[in-house]
């Protein structure tokens, strides 16, 4: 596992150095990550960056399992967040998810695979184009990205593929918290002779088909993704559609209804 990793940052840091003169040095990274230069160039495209406490990444201090590390991102006190990108600096594939909070709170939670100890960071972009960055350092032992999924070994994986479980928890602040689990192997393509096979996007829509939240997902999202959104509540009753597609073109489609108040 380590080999692929260590080579990548070295090569890339050379690229960054070569570009320093024209691009201007990136602002100093409070996490001192060796991949920060690359993140700044390639993912944030050298935009204006502020390290901002209002962008909170919550994750365990130490990952108990590298295959399912829970991460949540909440932006508090920033208006007009147009997108949030989740990045695990020292994974072979850094970009993990891109969230578009159309009519949702600037919050989402999911689980990620970790190749080794790394900063997990969220970059929230506001309407003015500025990136607001928060992050957390998570200790981990390693190997999460180059191991085949559990489902790869199961003969009947196809019969449950893209099955959806979901539940809604109404909150007092006019928010419905929706948590969903999609059955999917989420193979990264980095394990020998197993091509990449992963969910590419997931949408929450209301009954009228209006998209409330959109999440683009990449290979490092954990097998059987468990994803949480907070959307403006549909009302006392009603529900939401959950839809998406994987990179093979297999569709995800489900409807989740609010439980009647008891």
């Amino acid at each position: 596992m380590g080999r692929l990793f260590r080579i990548a940052p070295m090569v890339l840091s050379v690229l960054v150095l070569a570009n320093v003169a024209s691009a201007g040095a990136p602002p100093k990274d409070p996490f001192n990550s060796p991949m920060w230069g690359w993140v700044y160039e390639e993912i944030l495209e050298q935009g204006q960056v502020i390290f901002d406490d209002r962008v909170k990444v919550d994750a365990p201090d130490s990952a108990e399992g590298n295959f399912q590390v829970p991460v949540s991102v909440r932006v508090d006190g920033l208006d007009d967040v147009t997108e949030i990108i989740l990045i695990v600096d020292l994974n072979p594939i850094l970009k993990t998810a891109k969230f578009t909070p159309n009519k949702a709170r600037p919050y989402f939670a999911l689980r990620v695979k970790m190749g080794q100890a790394s900063v997990i960071r969220a970059a929230a972009r506001t309407k003015d184009g500025v990136w607001h960055l928060g992050g957390k350092y998570v200790d981990a032992s390693g190997g999460g990205c180059t191991v085949p999924s559990v489902q790869m070994a199961a003969a009947d994986w196809e019969s449950n593929l893209n099955n959806v479980q979901a539940q809604i928890w109404p909150r007092e602040n006019g928010v419905d918290r929706i948590r969903t689990r999609i059955i999917h192997p989420m193979d990264t393509g980095l394990s020998g002779n197993i091509p990449a096979f992963f969910m590419e996007h997931l949408s929450i829509k209301n009954a009228e088909g209006v998209e409330l939240a959109h999440l683009q997902t990449f290979e490092p999202v954990s097998e059987d993704p468990v994803i949480t959104f907070e959307v403006d509540a549909v009302g006392e009753t009603g529900g939401y559609s959950i839809s998406g597609m994987d990179n093979n073109g297999n569709e995800i489609s489900a409807w989740v209804e609010k439980a009647p108040k008891s």
């Binding site: 003969a155 196809e158 002779n193 990179n247 093979n248 073109g249 569709e251």
Partner: protein
């Protein structure tokens, strides 16, 4: 310099915006591109190098006098440990080669450099049931999409530039034995497909889907009694219920449309073949069993059958009727030819299916003495039908016979070519027979539905494969090239007087179209069971062929195994041209 680049990029962006706003965007491969593919030399956008499936190129930059100079330009590996039979025909468009491979994969490769642009790997369920290796025979291009079928019976439409999925539709239930490995094709804005699975008692069908959305437009089952569909509603029944099928046997009657079809614009007809009736044991289904073992002429607008030619009525030897129908014009007539599994070469009037002639193209045919040109029916040799097991002493095994051709056919899937240069057909055939006997069987979803046992045997000590040049006017054989192993590759011919094909021994070969003499050959490192192509760029003629041994022969080969067991697997594309 920077300034110029920026301007161009902006202009390009604007053009894209405009075309995507128009609903009839003609970006990418157009109907005209497809209609003119047989005459256009700088690209290949159809399977068959032209809709009629002639596999004839007007190019003659490379010809009999200089073909020996051909050298490889690049080779591209499909990689992985998934090296099985590679039966694909590459497509060439806009500087990109689109080529499919074993295990339902498709690759976009830079034609100049052989570098991969993208790759799509279908994640296949463990339960797929391909009868005859995990092959794929090619893709279709239309607009900005590229289409191909998968072993779990899905049709996938991908953005040709990125490889991202636009849509994916289910053609059948893979758990019931359906799969799809043929190259789809485009007719009037629809993508046309069939299904494989005849060995599992599926029911064959030809279907048209809107190429942009994948929505079903029409569906035509190949077995009588089944209902067709048009625009979301039942249309007409195929044939007449129980006219040629006894009892309920039509419900799992086979007629798999596993080899793809083509389209003739002059008669506005889709030609598609239907496989053997199921099960193999013919005593369970007395009657002609329409439209199994037939060629169907289908109206592309509604999926109605215009006419049919059943090459083997009451089929009992696994003589599928799927082999390609190649349209050509000669003697002022609109004709079509097909070389059947049953060993006869048929030439018909393609406006009505009436036979012009039907002649044997392999040796020692045992099941019929001839074909009646008036009726189109074979003159059967009744003693060469395997016996009814219920009439045997223990009821478990009917009387065995030795029949020629074998169940793999005088000719199998590998497409022949028609030369406008020589007026001849170049037919890859095999000389073999089989011991065949019937057994009792009942239909069970997803289980093999044969009711027969068999073993294949070569007819001659020194060869099985035989590439033949056939004159369609009288069926006479002008020359023959013998090959030790069975031939399993398609053929292509050029105005340069050349015939190209490959053999399981790994050679990509160029032959003199008048004599069959091998003028050039190149060892590709694994067996060739695919479909070669040629095209032109900047005044140079290029050739491509996929190499990778496999297909049905090593799986079913019986005694034939002796001649092929030393052949190694592979999975690559080779591209050739003459050095400048």
């Amino acid at each position: 310099m920077n300034f110029i680049k920026t301007t161009l990029a902006l202009a390009g962006g604007a053009a894209i915006a405009v075309s995507s706003m128009s609903s009839q965007a003609q970006a990418g491969v157009t109907d005209a591109d497809i209609a003119n593919d047989s005459k256009t030399t700088h690209q290949i956008v159809t399977n068959g190098m032209g809709r009629k499936g002639q596999r004839f190129s007007p190019l003659k930059i490379v010809n009999k006098s200089n073909v020996k100079k051909l050298l490889p330009v690049w080779s591209f590996s499909f990689g992985g440990e998934k090296q099985r039979g590679q039966e694909s025909q590459p497509l060439i468009y806009d500087g990109v080669m689109y080529v499919t491979s074993s295990y339902s994969r498709i690759f976009a490769v830079d034609v100049k450099t052989g570098e991969e642009l993208w790759q799509y790997d279908a994640r296949l369920p463990d339960g797929i049931m391909p009868c005859c290796d995990v092959i794929n025979r090619g893709a279709a291009l239309y607009g900005d999409l590229v289409y191909f079928g998968t072993l779990d019976a899905k049709l996938v439409a991908l953005d040709r530039k990125t490889g991202k999925v636009k849509w994916k539709k289910k053609l059948g239930d893979y758990k019931a034995g359906y799969s799809f490995t043929a190259a789809p094709f485009i007719v009037k804005g629809n993508v046309i497909t069939g299904v494989s699975g005849g060995e599992f008692g599926i029911v064959g069908k030809v279907e048209a889907r809107n190429a942009e959305t994948g929505e079903l437009v029409w569906s035509r089952p190949t077995i009588e009694g089944h209902m067709g569909m048009l625009n979301g509603k039942p249309s007409t029944m195929t044939g007449k219920l129980n006219a040629t099928w006894p009892g309920d046997m039509w419900k799992s009657g086979g007629g798999a449309t596993w080899l793809g079809g083509n389209y003739d614009d002059e008669t506005d007809t889709i030609f598609y073949g239907a496989g053997n009736p199921a099960p193999w044991n013919s005593h369970l289904r007395k009657g002609d069993n329409l439209y199994a073992a037939s060629r169907l002429a289908i109206n592309p607008d509604n999926g109605e059958i215009k006419w049919h030619l059943q090459t083997t009525p009451w089929e009992g030897w696994d003589y599928d009727g799927v082999n390609e129908v190649v349209s050509f014009n000669a003697g002022g007539k609109k004709l079509a030819a097909t070389a059947d599994r049953n060993g006869f070469f048929y030439v018909m009037d393609r406006t009505n299916g009436k036979l012009q002639n039907a002649t044997p193209f392999v040796e020692q045919i045992s099941w019929a003495s001839s074909i009646d040109v008036k009726t189109g029916r074979p003159n059967f040799i009744d003693s060469n039908r395997a016996g009814d097991p219920t009439k045997s002493a223990d009821g478990k095994k009917g009387k065995a016979i030795f029949a020629v051709p074998s169940f793999l056919g005088g000719k199998n899937w590998m497409p022949m070519a028609y030369s406008q240069n020589s007026g001849l057909f170049y037919v890859p055939s095999n000389e073999w027979g089989m011991d065949l006997w019937n057994e009792p069987v009942t239909y069970k979803k997803g289980a093999a539905y044969l009711g027969a046992g068999f073993t294949i045997k070569p007819l001659f000590e020194d060869y099985i494969g035989s590439l033949k040049a056939i004159d369609p006017m009288d069926g006479s054989i002008k020359w023959e090239l013998k090959n030790n192993a069975p031939l399993w590759a398609g053929v292509m011919t050029t105005a340069g007087g050349l015939v190209f094909t490959g053999n399981p021994e790994g050679y990509f070969m160029a032959l003199d179209d008048a004599t069959g003499k091998v003028l050039w050959k190149f060892q590709t490192g694994s067996g060739i069971v695919s479909q070669p192509v040629t095209w032109e760029e900047n005044g140079e003629q290029y050739f491509a062929v996929v190499s990778g041994w496999g297909g049905a022969v090593p799986l079913w080969g019986g005694d034939v195994a002796k001649r092929i067991k030393h052949l190694n697997q592979g999975g690559s594309v080779w591209v050739f041209k003459m050095p400048k």
